[in-house]
């Protein structure tokens, strides 16, 4: 079960890495903000939960999330078979993995610069 979850997360990561740019902002705090904002909204959309669009920034996260959900649903049909709890677990795992690959495990030495 753990292997299956891991494999599914890697598939979702691979799509982001090959097709998206939002995960690679230039500073660690920026990447944290991006991963959190976009993946939280992606999880809400996948689970059919309400999504907040109060600020322009929210809207910006949301458009990336909408495109990600469309691509995930088209490319990974197994998502349709998951219940809400499983989807939340999966997305939490994806969020942790993305944070690791782009922030905590990143070898990019510029991530901790104080200025842009």
């Amino acid at each position: 079960m753990e292997d299956l979850q891991k494999d599914r997360i890697e598939q979702l990561v691979d799509y982001i890495m090959k097709n998206c740019l939002w995960q690679f902002h230039s500073r660690a705090w920026d990447r944290k903000r991006q991963n959190e904002g976009i993946l939280a909204k992606t999880a809400q959309l996948l689970c059919g939960d309400p999504v907040s669009l109060e600020t322009p920034e929210d809207r910006c996260y949301w458009v990336d999330a909408v495109c990600l959900v469309e691509a995930y649903r088209a490319g990974y049909p197994w998502l349709a078979g998951l219940g809400k709890a499983e989807l939340r677990d999966l997305m939490q795992g994806l969020y942790e993995r993305m944070d690791y690959l782009t922030i905590t495990g990143s070898l990019n030495l510029e991530l901790t610069d104080q200025h842009y």
Partner: protein
């Protein structure tokens, strides 16, 4: 770390950390070369300087400006034919280049008086131009000329004139990337907010990190206009100086080249709350996603979908014609900064080519993260290579074509590897749906050039087949294709015009009704 050590660089051990192979199971936490460091003494690399990065990459694409270098005349070199950032005002910024022509005597006695004289003369020679940028160079920076003070004097003497001073001498940073940073921040600090924006649409963007190479900006502008979106400013290709002073008025910053222009987007977000949306104008899928996202942001996604459907139907059969013939061809993707990640996945997925190596001349580790993430296993990633390393890579990887700048491109030709100009393009624009087909056509033409085939013959040992007559590209490319593909009635070669850009300038666009203004309570 799966570092790759070049045989030719064994005598420069520091170079080992600048190249990695993306092996099986490797990810960004185990495979990432060092980057954005000063070039190591002893290795002659292909970088430009910080002045070049500020002026020739970002400053000069602004179209309605006298661009003046305060320094020796040689610093102004990169103009006609070496840069191809065209504009819709008869290419003023390309046709005319200005330098104060500093000489030894100015270095000794100072060059401020001469600078002022030059500035006044330039405005007099082009009275219709009321805007000027002045670029510091190494020579004027070292003698301490106060360009800001001179600019202020000129602005006082010539009312209606506005001048931007860019203090990015060549030595300010390890590469041209240092200059990108400096001019971004200087423009933000000194110019943004000075002009009240003229808003003509409910949907307003700044289009940032786009330099109108062979018309790229105008291609994308066409899509935005068809969607009813106002481009308030373009930073900076085909961009207007005063529009760029009004950047604070946009609802969204749409960012293409994050390497050269993310700084101003980040600052606009912090200072004015304008969000940043990174897009890709290259590749059918990435471009479609980009238009869809911008449409969604403004709630006009139906307009984006219409364009995506129309453009895909028009151009996809032509892209696929080339994909069938480029499938499996090995390419090295060796651009300056951002194109390694803009193209790495898209050319593999949509043109079928295998990217065997990515490199960047002046990119940062962030660019390599994006590039390595997007390329397939086995690719060799090199930061700031020197000429010998590039030659060794070509010898071992045996690419069918490389996409790079004119300097490495020239020596690639000598070792019989065809090259396409990744910075300025061959027969661009390469952005947009049609542009992507033009890129595929250029790759096809390079790889299957009959002349190139002749170059592969080593007349010192190979038998020259003098009696076999001529061949065409088509004869070469179709020799091993299945009959079904060869005679396909749906696939076709590029059918666009030689000039795919000028037509946009006289085009009529739909007028979309604006939303009624909502009165603010208490206003």
């Amino acid at each position: 770390m799966p570092y790759h050590e070049f045989e030719v660089s064994k005598c420069i051990p520091e170079r080992k950390k600048h190249a990695v192979v993306k092996g099986p199971g490797e990810d960004l936490t185990s495979a990432l070369p060092a980057g954005y460091l000063s070039t190591i003494p002893g290795t002659i690399s292909e970088r430009g300087c910080a002045y070049c990065g500020a002026k020739h990459v970002i400053g000069t694409p602004m179209k309605d400006v006298i661009h003046l270098s305060h320094g020796p005349v040689g610093c102004t070199y990169d103009t006609w034919q070496t840069k191809r950032y065209i504009s819709d005002n008869d290419n003023f910024q390309l046709k005319y280049t200005f330098a104060t022509d500093m000489k030894e005597k100015h270095v000794i006695f100072g060059a401020e008086k001469m600078l002022k004289k030059n500035m006044l003369e330039a405005f007099k020679a082009f009275p219709e131009m009321k805007r000027m940028t002045v670029y510091q160079t190494c020579a004027s920076a070292l003698i301490g000329d106060d360009i800001d003070a001179v600019a202020q004097e000129v602005m006082e003497e010539l009312p209606g004139v506005d001048i931007f001073v860019c203090n990015s001498p060549g030595f300010k940073g390890p590469s041209q990337s240092g200059g990108h940073h400096t001019i971004n921040i200087a423009w933000m600090k000194n110019k943004v907010g000075q002009v009240e924006p003229k808003i003509t649409s409910d949907y307003v963007i700044n289009y940032v990190g786009e330099y109108n190479i062979q018309g790229d900006q105008e291609v994308m502008q066409d899509y935005f206009k068809r969607m009813g979106i106002q481009i308030l400013s373009t930073f900076t290709g085909n961009g207007s100086y005063d529009d760029l002073r009004a950047m604070q008025g946009a609802h969204l910053n749409v960012l293409e080249c994050a390497r050269s222009a993310e700084y101003i987007c980040n600052e606009l977000r912090v200072r004015y709350g304008i969000p940043r949306l990174d897009i890709d104008g290259f590749g059918f899928e990435a471009l479609s996603h980009s238009l869809r996202k911008i449409g969604l942001f403004f709630g006009i996604e139906d307009r984006a979908e219409k364009i995506i459907a129309e453009e895909t139907a028009r151009w996809k059969p032509e892209l696929d014609w080339y994909k069938e013939r480029l499938n499996g061809k090995k390419v090295c993707l060796w651009p300056g900064g951002s194109k390694l990640w803009h193209w790495a996945h898209a050319i593999h997925a949509e043109m079928g080519v295998e990217v065997v190596s990515v490199y960047t001349k002046f990119g940062h580790q962030g660019d390599m993260e994006k590039g390595i993430a997007r390329c397939e296993e086995g690719a060799l990633a090199i930061d700031d290579p020197n000429e010998l390393e590039s030659l060794e890579a070509m010898e071992t990887l045996k690419p069918d074509c490389i996409f790079t700048g004119k300097r490495p491109g020239e020596y690639a030709k000598k070792v019989r590897v065809p090259y396409l100009n990744a910075h300025a393009y061959h027969n661009g624009p390469w952005k947009g749906y049609e542009g992507w087909v033009r890129f595929a056509r250029d790759i096809y033409n390079a790889i299957y050039s009959p002349i190139h085939q002749l170059a592969l013959v080593d007349i010192s040992k190979d038998e020259l087949a003098a009696g076999t007559g001529f061949v065409t590209r088509r004869m070469l490319s179709d020799a091993s294709l299945p009959e079904k593909v060869r005679s396909s009635e749906t696939l076709r070669q590029y059918t666009g015009q030689f000039d795919s850009v000028s037509g946009f300038r006289d085009k009529t666009y739909p007028v979309f009704e604006r939303k009624p203004e909502v009165e603010t309570v208490g206003a």
